[in-house]
Amino acid sequence: MAALHLEKVTKVYRKGDNEVRALDGVDLDIEAGEFLTVVGPSGSGKTTLLNILGCLDSPTEGRMVYDGKELRALGERSLSAYRRERISFVFQSYNLIPVLTVRENVELPLLIERALADGEIRARSSEMIAAVGLAGKEDRYPRELSGGQEQRVAIARALVKRPLVVLADEPSANLDSRTAEEVVELMRSINAERGTTFVFSTHDRLVMEHARRIVTIRDGRVTGDERK
């Protein structure tokens, strides 16, 4: 079975008497090590799909099987635990914790997870900071970094716990084209070297060019699934 398996996933939001069907019977299999982009117009359901893939939101109907584990029936506590251990995020606005240094931001997921000893946490964070090209900047605070550097820290933070999948919502939207290219290249190389699964939602043509699979979504339905 695929690493991430969605089966007839539907998400309905209710606003007063109105019902909004953000996802409508989505079937999607994502294999380990994929570099996948979800594209579609605004309001098509990209962010909802990413939220459900990231266990930030639960589907109204349908099945989710991650790494052979049925997630549909899990409560909030178990979903938090699952996110803590297996899922990472890269956000459009980086969302680093401003009062923590580069190293502390990168170590944060491991400190929340509390599964590793201090020495191992430090070794992992050093490795990831070096991997994203920020060695020597461990003690800087986010305000002392450029946008591109902040996004690199966010990538290191996402990868440090060796997740099942990294979900990236418009990761290049706030970056200039050169920096965006560098950041996407970085994720692509990490995907190639480490086999980490990446799922993006994006409008950025550059990200789409690097993707090996493009899933198109419209009105909450998967309308295209192109593999390169």
């Binding site: 803590r84 969302n95 929340i112």
Partner: protein, 415 residues
């Protein structure tokens, strides 16, 4: 927990202005409480010491019948064997002095004032009371000034008397006959106890016995001095202990320690303590509102951050703990500053004291005057510190719960 503390602590430092404002309010509340409590304790100590020194003594020996009928100052219920009682006290190493209290009228030959007069032993009375050392003018009683009285300065002023003038003192004798005699005003006393200044009339005990036609050795009470204790509570405990230990040696007598004699004042003291507690409650409530506001601002300015922490698997309980810790860090700042500032002020009051001469008229009938010294009380400081932390903890719970309720998806979308 270490990471949560780190984030919480650094956030309080990061938002300096709101941290300082909240901490200053807490600091003010706690330091005012410490200083206020110290000053009240100092006032209590001074009041009870002054009552011991100028009017009540540390331990009073009277007959039970005399105390039962105290409002009449009954001469027929006097001590059966004053010299025996004094000897019993002396055997225990306690200094005592006899007094003869009686209702009298004092007149300048125009106006008449009723007073409670005291016949005192001019030699031993100064070993128990400090009235003789509070002379505003003239001299204390002694063999060189026969048929003399010492009066409270305010009473003398009311009667237009000064040292060297004559007064007429009249009283009911032990045989219930009115007697009067003329005395020279030898001295005027101005003590910290207003009851002495306004109504004190002292004459040698032999002169009083003569005026009242009382036999030699006649006395209504014996007053005893006890060593100065380190605190008011210790002084009260010492009085109680001594009274209990003397009970078997002096059968048939009442031994009333200062804790009993000053009970009217001491009951007011408990009310004052409650007022002081209400004061800190009000100030810390204001500080609590400040903390709620500060943490709420912190929550609203960090909604996306909460979303990230939730996305990375932090549970609502941990999010709540994060903001509670932030409130606690604020409370810690405020409480530490409050205790330090309060302790510094308190130290000044303990060492230098505060003069209340300028407010003496406002003190009314309270036996206070001169310089009030604070009382160093680590218990009050510890209470203020802990209370500040508890207020911070309780106040931060409201915004912490709000933060915990945020859904990760809406928190991440927040602009």
């Amino acid at each position: 927990m270490g990471t949560l503390w780190k984030i919480a602590f650094r956030n309080t430092i990061r938002h300096k202005r709101r941290t300082i404002i909240t901490a200053v309010v807490m600091m003010a509340g706690i330091s005012i409480f410490i200083v206020f409590d110290s000053m009240l304790a100092g006032m209590d100590r001074m009041a009870v010491d002054n009552m011991s020194d100028y009017s009540l003594s540390s331990l009073k020996l009277r007959t039970p019948a005399y105390v039962d009928d105290i409002s009449a100052t009954p001469l027929d219920k006097s001590l059966p064997d004053p010299s025996g009682a004094l000897a019993a006290l002396a055997a225990k190493g306690i200094t005592g002095t006899p007094r003869l209290r009686f209702v009298a009228s004092v007149s300048n030959y125009k106006d008449v004032f009723p007073v409670i007069a005291d016949g005192v032993d001019p030699a031993s009375d100064p070993k128990v009371f400090k009235v003789s050392s509070a002379l505003a003018s003239g001299s204390w009683l002694g063999p060189e000034t026969p048929k003399a009285v010492v009066m409270g300065a305010v009473l003398a002023q009311e009667l237009g008397l000064k040292v060297g003038d004559s007064v007429l003192v009249s009283a009911q004798t032990v045989d219930d006959v009115t007697n009067a005699d003329e005395y020279l005003v030898a001295g005027l006393v101005q003590t910290p106890d207003p009851t002495v200044n306004e109504g004190g009339l002292f004459m040698a005990i032999d002169e009083a016995r003569s005026l009242l036609s009382a036999p030699a050795g006649f006395a209504t009470e014996i007053d005893a001095a006890l060593p100065r204790a380190g605190s008011l509570n210790a002084a009260i405990a010492q009085g109680d202990r001594t009274a209990a230990s003397l009970k078997t040696l002096l059968p048939g007598l009442r031994l009333d320690p200062i804790g009993y004699l000053a009970q009217g004042y001491l009951s007011v003291r408990e009310t004052k303590s409650k007022y002081s507690f209400v004061l800190i409650l009000i100030v810390l409530f204001i500080a609590g509102v400040g903390i709620v506001n500060t943490i709420l601002m912190s929550v609203y300015s960090r909604i996306r951050e909460i979303g990230v922490l939730r996305a990375y698997g932090m549970t609502p309980r941990e999010i709540s703990r994060l903001f509670t810790l932030e409130g606690l860090a604020l409370g810690l700042f405020g409480s530490v500053l409050g205790v330090v500032l309060g302790a510094l002020f308190d130290l000044y009051m303990v060492v230098k004291g505060i003069s209340i001469e300028a407010f003496s008229s406002a003190m009314g009938s309270l036996p206070l005057g001169g310089v009030i010294y604070g009382v160093w009380n680590p218990g009050t400081m510890a209470f203020g510190f802990l209370f500040g932390l508890i207020v911070a903890l309780v106040a931060s719970r409201i915004p912490a719960r709000q933060a915990a309720k945020l859904e990760p998806t809406s928190a991440l979308r927040f602009q």
